[in-house]
């Protein structure tokens, strides 16, 4: 039995989608759902504003442990998932740059692979200890989430 590939990392390097997809593709994999988040230079919704750059920081060892937990949760909910990659880029990131990636592979596309990727990014934004400070033309501000993890979550 080939172990199922699970990649999770906090990195300052560019996110290489080709490389990550290759690493989570088994010979039985026929479908991959990949989510990436990018830095928006202009935001229209809610409080419209411009962004010069975002500066990300992470509690690295805990963040990697929580990414592994997200991957474990995905596998519990969708047992057809073959490979999982979860990558958060940190540092100073400019508009149009991919900052985060969640990718899941499965044999077929109708197995929940899209839902699994969606769950992964939602969950990352709840429990993985990463923060971003937004630098706009008028100043800088830490972005705060609104999710309070339960103890042990």
């Amino acid at each position: 039995m080939i172990p199922l590939p699970t990649i999770f990392s906090i990195t300052e390097d560019e996110i290489d989608l080709n490389d990550l997809l290759e690493k989570i593709t088994l010979t039985s994999s026929g479908a991959a759902a990949i989510f990436t988040g990018m830095v928006r230079g202009v935001t229209a919704r809610d409080n419209p504003h411009e962004t010069v750059y975002l500066e990300y920081e992470a509690y690295i060892p805990m963040a990697e442990a929580k990414m592994k937990q997200v991957a474990d949760e995905i596998r519990l909910k969708w047992d057809v998932i073959e490979g999982i990659a979860i990558v958060q880029r940190i540092g100073k990131l400019y508009p149009r740059t991919p900052t985060v990636l969640i990718a899941c592979t499965a044999a077929h596309r109708d197995t929940g692979v899209f839902d699994a990727a969606r769950y992964g990014i939602d969950r990352l934004k709840e429990i993985v200890p990463v923060w971003k400070k937004e630098v706009s033309p008028t100043g800088e501000e830490w972005i705060e989430g609104d999710y309070i993890p339960k103890p042990g979550e």
Partner: protein, 82 residues
Amino acid sequence: MNKIKLLFFATIRDRAGTKQMDLEIPDNLTIQELKDKLSSDYPKMAQSMKSVLMTINREYAFDEQIVPQNAEIGMFPPVSGG
């Protein structure tokens, strides 16, 4: 006494003015008691204590939990990665 390591992130780090701090605390202090102690010892941090997330050895902790010996305690606002 219990020697712990505190790690601060994002807004909490800005208010604390440092990334980390080694601290000696009484044995069997709870997380809530630790927060109260930090608020009184470091008044600048007091306003952070309401919405702060606390972790013990890289797991989310609750207020009644006892701080274990030599714990690594993380303190930060709700996460905003992605």
